[in-house]
Symmetry: C2
């Protein structure tokens, strides 16, 4: 097993906290070109694999039938902040399938983005299912069911035909065993399956290259990755990491985070796919690792690479705006 990557958080001239991370980069043939930590251990991809879960929406023809463009498909792959534009677009997706938010089974929560939460608190009595960060994905699920004549009710359950289809798709993409023993329940109630980090990276490499996929699936996969890169606001939201990373190099980076410190990214032109997991589940560590690896493979001296390194080695300020420390990746990510 390779040593894990370390992400340090400093204060003054000392390291205050330290994260360990697993990371893997594969090329278009699925060959490992970088690895750190136990990249064969099972990891719940959580929301990082939403683009895989959105494949039935496109493959089934539902997206085309309902006239979904980049924004709707990006939202179907998103963990959005619950900003008004996200909520409105999710509602619009459902309405085009003749449904509304009562079809959603994701639960409701206030935005986890502070600025959006303050706006929500001032304009809403309480959030609904459309405000759930997964409402775009769930709206896509409902649309995929409706278009195929499948009853959507219960679409979050392990045994629902949609989840069975997603399970088969993800097993094919990642090469991993996806069954009840590998299954947990995600925040939005759908099944999530523990997959080796290498499988996750290879799954996204396959989505980007279409290698080994039926033509319909290859086309749908490319369509979803293109949509996310074309409409990054709808993948996350104002100031969020996925959005910022994709905006740094339009059309050249696909990036998607997941809860508990998972982050996946693809560099389609370079034919590379990245998957990282912070052992302790820390988002700040996952963001540092994925941005550093993107910079490494785009070239740290390129414009996008330099901007990514600023995200990777992030300066931290306190409530008075004083610099108090930094999040920084260690050199192991670059050796």
């Amino acid at each position: 097993m390779h040593n894990p990557v370390t992400v340090e958080v400093t204060r003054g001239n000392r390291v205050e906290s330290r994260h360990r991370g697993m990371a893997v980069v594969v090329d278009g043939d699925g060959r490992i070109v970088f690895q750190a930590g136990d990249v064969e251990a099972g990891v719940f991809p959580r929301s990082a694999c939403k683009a895989m879960q959105a494949l039935p929406l496109v493959e089934s023809g539902a997206a085309e039938a309902f006239g979904f463009g980049h924004s709707e498909l990006a939202l179907a792959c998103s963990s959005h902040s619950g900003e008004e534009a996200h909520v409105a677009l999710a509602a619009s997706m459902l309405s085009r399938a003749g449904r509304d938010e009562t079809a959603l089974e994701c639960g409701a929560h206030w935005s986890s983005d502070q600025k959006t939460l303050i706006h929500q608190a001032r304009t809403l009595e309480k959030p609904g299912c459309l405000h759930n960060n997964c409402s775009g994905k769930h709206s896509g699920f409902v649309c995929a069911c409706v278009h195929q004549g499948i009853e959507p009710a219960g679409y979050v359950e392990y045994d629902h035909p949609l989840q069975a289809e997603i399970r088969a798709i993800m097993a094919g993409l990642t090469g991993a065993v996806l069954d009840a023993d590998h299954c947990g329940t995600d925040g939005c109630s759908i099944p999530t399956y523990a997959v080796p980090l290498t499988g996750l990276a290879r799954g996204f490499a396959n989505m980007a290259t279409g290698r080994g996929l039926q033509p319909l699936r290859a086309k749908a996969a490319r369509r979803l990755i293109e949509a996310c890169m074309a409409a990054p606001f709808y993948v996350a939201g104002t100031g969020r990491a996925c959005t910022k990373i994709m905006e740094l190099a339009p059309g050249r980076i696909f990036a998607k985070t997941g809860a508990e410190g998972v982050f996946c990214a693809v560099l389609p032109e370079e034919g590379l796919s990245i998957a990282v997991k912070a052992e302790d589940g820390a988002t700040r560590a996952a963001e540092a690792m994925v941005t550093a690896l993107l910079a490494r493979f785009l070239g740290r001296d390129s414009e996008a690479g330099a901007a990514l390194m600023v995200m990777a080695n992030r300066s931290m300020k306190n409530w008075n705006g004083r610099h108090v420390g930094d999040v920084r990746v260690t050199d192991a990510l670059f050796l």
Copy 2:
């Protein structure tokens, strides 16, 4: 070096994330009765040492002169949620010294407690310094200065007489070297010093027992610990860990958290003092470790011990209220 403690976060029947922690328990003589991980490494105590930083307020006679009771002293040791009662009491403390919030140098921020933030968003245009989680501590600083005829302005700076006094007090309590090389800047702009976890635990043991302290300091230390135990709401707030832990066994547990995964606690009757630090800075891991250790030394079968174990091995639910996993401490904390 002893092995670190592990705190696991599960999903389904698998471990999803894993934290490593350092922990130490000392008795009233400062002897180590439990240790895990590198307990001699320097750790920034952050807000966990606020009761030490509040000693000048009591020792100087300021607290008595201004008529401060349990609630005011607890607030001086607090990281509060910015609830209305916290804000009003901080304002009252300042007014009794003839000052107002313009004397505070802690900066402003919205509450980090979601429920309080929603209330703030609905009732405030923006938060002020009184809403800062450290406003009670800073109000105490201002009161201590005013009472002693020290100009409060600049009281957050390393060279201000108040910080020099706090530095000397903390060096005496912890036995650690506190100088510029060990110094970082805290979120509220005051100096924070890296101290071995053993020093931190011994410092709180000395506060509880008064051992080795001048009578005035011993009395002030006991007074502050008693105040926090008597008014736990003012140490943190509704639903917060410090408040809940102290409410579980009134008068028998002192507990105070700090940023980046630090937690200190004292069992005055048992003559024990606990300090923990999650290596990665995770609050959930620090809470699990400190509650498990409190339960261990109070007896897991006691009423308080059982309630603490429920906090240590915490069940996690998703947005639909479904059980998805648990935070759990490993047996190493009990061997």
